[in-house]
């Protein structure tokens, strides 16, 4: 079975719409997400293929709706949890704390 990532040749997806003078990162967090790959892949021991494979587990509708670096974030969380480096509870608790601090 083909996953949603295996999109080569699919019809009806629409125009490409390149952006003029596009910045490397559209928001600061995208840069941090990018940097996390370089900072984690060695100690966490994942390859580019495994990282992409993790992205391919995103639910298909969310895969198409979410942005590129959201895909990366999904992969980081999945792979680091799988390896026991962080836990889902730990992450959720910290997100809740940061959200409260920002209010």
């Amino acid at each position: 079975m083909h996953g949603i990532h295996d999109i080569g040749g699919m019809h009806g997806i629409g125009p490409i719409a390149p952006e003029e003078n596009e910045p490397v990162f559209h928001e600061e967090w995208e840069g941090r997400a990018f940097g996390l790959f370089g900072a984690t892949y060695v100690f966490a021991g994942y390859t580019v293929d495994e990282f992409r494979h993790a992205i391919e587990h995103i639910e298909p509708a969310h895969y198409l709706e979410s942005s590129y670096y959201e895909h990366w974030l999904f992969a980081f969380e999945a792979l680091l949890i799988k390896r026991g480096i962080v836990t889902r509870e730990e992450l959720d608790a910290r997100v809740a704390l940061l959200r409260k601090e920002a209010e």
């Binding site: 490409i16 940097g35 996390l36 992409r52 910290r94």
Partner: protein, 196 residues
């Protein structure tokens, strides 16, 4: 990292990335300063000007071009560009008869040392879907009209192997220096969606 004080609430992914970075830093697994340096490198230092130097050298120096077409990874390294996501490079040459176009249908693989990080459209579903099935309409969207007699070749990048297009040298550039030639070379021409 400072907590932003602007009015716009932080998005969910922004919060989640910040949470992940904070936890990993507390565990001593990452160094936020090293992460700053990585971001700065790819935001400001590594980009398509590197690839443009490779193309200009190939135009100006036939012996270099031959090395580039035979062993692109080694020839690109001669100019100081190598490393992550450029470990195995292949250069494909545009001619009056053949036009090359690079895509990564499965995701976003791209030659980082020579082009930097890919633009959003390269990673988007429409480009990935259509580059392989209807490349001429994709090229038209970038303003590139090719005669029917020109063969279009599509190269689907993998995690291990990355492609760089060697565009055709424009006519009337015989007297330009290598530096001036490099100025003419655009990112999109090295992906193959445009000509120069």
């Amino acid at each position: 990292m400072p907590v932003p004080h602007n009015a716009k609430p932080e998005s969910e992914p922004a919060l989640r990335v910040r949470a992940l970075e904070a936890i990993l830093a507390e565990k001593g697994l990452i160094d936020s300063k090293a992460l700053d340096a990585l971001v700065d490198t790819y935001e400001h230092k590594i980009g398509p000007r590197n690839g443009a130097k490779v193309v200009a050298r190939a135009w100006a120096d036939p012996a270099y071009k031959q090395r580039l077409m035979t062993d692109a990874t080694a020839a690109i390294k001669e100019l100081g560009f190598s490393g992550l996501q450029g470990e195995d490079m292949v250069v494909v040459e545009n001619t009056p008869e053949v036009h090359n176009l690079v895509v990564c249908t499965l995701c976003s693989c791209y030659p980082w040392p020579t082009l930097g990080l890919p633009p959003n459209w390269y990673k988007s579903a429409p480009y990935r879907a259509r580059a392989v099935s209807d490349p001429r309409s994709v090229l038209k969207e970038f303003g590139t009209e090719l005669p029917d007699t020109v063969e279009v070749r599509i190269w689907d990048t993998t995690a291990e192997l990355r492609y760089l297009v060697l565009p055709e040298r424009p006519s009337g550039t015989e007297n330009l220096s290598e530096e001036q030639l490099a100025e003419l070379v655009t990112r999109d021409s090295m992906i193959g969606v445009t000509k120069i």
